[in-house]
Symmetry: C2
Subunit: 241 residues, 2 copies
């Protein structure tokens, strides 16, 4: 059997007979491909569909380069290797097949179900939290982190014990709501060898900058952060405000 | 900025200066690309590296077609849509960029950290479980499942409550160890619109076929399975034995 693995082989053939609701929607919106009986058997999905889009509302790409809504104020390694300096950050709710001209790096992740919050904690978060993108939220931070093998070798109850019972991750975040809005993207299970496990994007008003510093300092001083073996802190300000 | 999303855009540009240990290894093993200062800035990673491999030991691809170690005895929908009938199943520890000739479908997933097991349960599992691929394990089953939005909207403690406290998922599996070996692959966070959330591969000796039926029947009768909205049961036998 022909098997030529490459760096971009995660596309999935969508057999018409067995197409899920999600894939059907993606195919209808993202391309002009005819969907009918037998089509799946003859199609090869290695080549990109020109202009076609993968419609996964949970997938985000962060491109560091010369364009984008956000101006980069600073890129600083907290632990481990940094990322190359860039002028702008573009945030896209899609995949980006090629590194755009003049861009220096690209990171992607998916929003997913929460792994540690209890119902009581989730209800508190939902009651207090704001969505990203408020008009006054002119400041932002993208903080990619990777946790070490020891963390990933722990069991769920052990990770929960460190995450909340001893490091108060949710409780710390709650203190800064709704001033600091947050969206977590997971990368560990994207299937490729991702450089980070998580990308967290925060935004806030300039007046809340000191609160943001307090929050990240508290989290970095926690037991949970002993398992972080790479962390880059990217500070951003929105253009045109 | 140029953004032409396609169906295979999950490759990641590996800047030489910032390359992680994992990516560096992948680049060294998987291709003849020169790794040096400045290389990252000029390379475009949209095109596959000919013959290059994505080295992610956690990633597996299952190809239904005409070739592969496993003969397909039966493909049966348990809930929701089925998958097209095929003669053989090939299991590859890599990505497969194109659907091979005569293949009808391809599924992929990554092994990952366990999401529910406690340390006590994990220790019991590790003490009793066998790895896939024992010489006598001539029978196998690949069971792709998808869980509904209600499941994914639950919090960790609610999912754990259903998974173990009320459905005894780990306890049920433990009863059948070491006879039934198992490997779980996650697909939900692969970043594309995957047709399933999980792919579980089991293998066992012919003499343990009845035990395997008992196990899947017990799990399917559990509260957890009320959240399964697609399940396909693919039974396999190893060729040449």
């Amino acid at each position: 059997m022909s098997t030529h693995p490459n760096a971009s082989g995660l596309d999935q053939p969508p057999p018409a007979r067995t197409m899920s609701r999600r894939r059907l929607l993606a195919a209808m919106v993202g391309s002009a491909v005819a969907v009918g009986a037998g089509v799946w058997a003859s199609r090869k999905w290695a080549k990109p569909i020109p202009g076609g889009a993968v419609m996964n509302p949970r997938l985000f790409t962060f491109v560091g380069g010369e364009t984008g809504t956000w101006s980069v104020l600073q890129i600083k390694a907290v632990v481990g290797e940094t990322l190359p300096d860039v002028k702008r950050l573009d945030i896209l709710n899609t995949t980006v097949p090629a590194l755009p001209d003049a861009a220096k790096w690209r990171l992607h992740g998916v929003t997913s179900n929460e792994r540690y919050a209890t119902r009581a904690e989730k209800d508190l978060l939902v009651a207090k939290q704001a969505a990203l993108g408020r008009p006054g939220a002119t400041h932002a931070a993208l903080i990619p982190i990777r946790k070490n093998a020891k963390w990933w070798g722990l069991t769920q109850d052990e990770r929960r014990g460190i995450f909340e019972d001893r490091s108060h991750h949710v409780k710390t975040g709650l203190k800064y709501l709704p001033a600091i809005a947050r969206r977590l993207h997971h990368c560990r299970d994207l299937g490729e060898n991702e450089p980070f496990d998580f990308l967290t994007l925060f935004d806030y008003a300039e007046a809340d900058s000191a609160a943001f510093e307090d929050m990240v300092a508290e989290l970095r001083a926690s037991e949970e952060w002993k398992f972080v073996d790479r962390e880059v802190d990217i500070r951003l300000v929105r253009e045109g405000v």
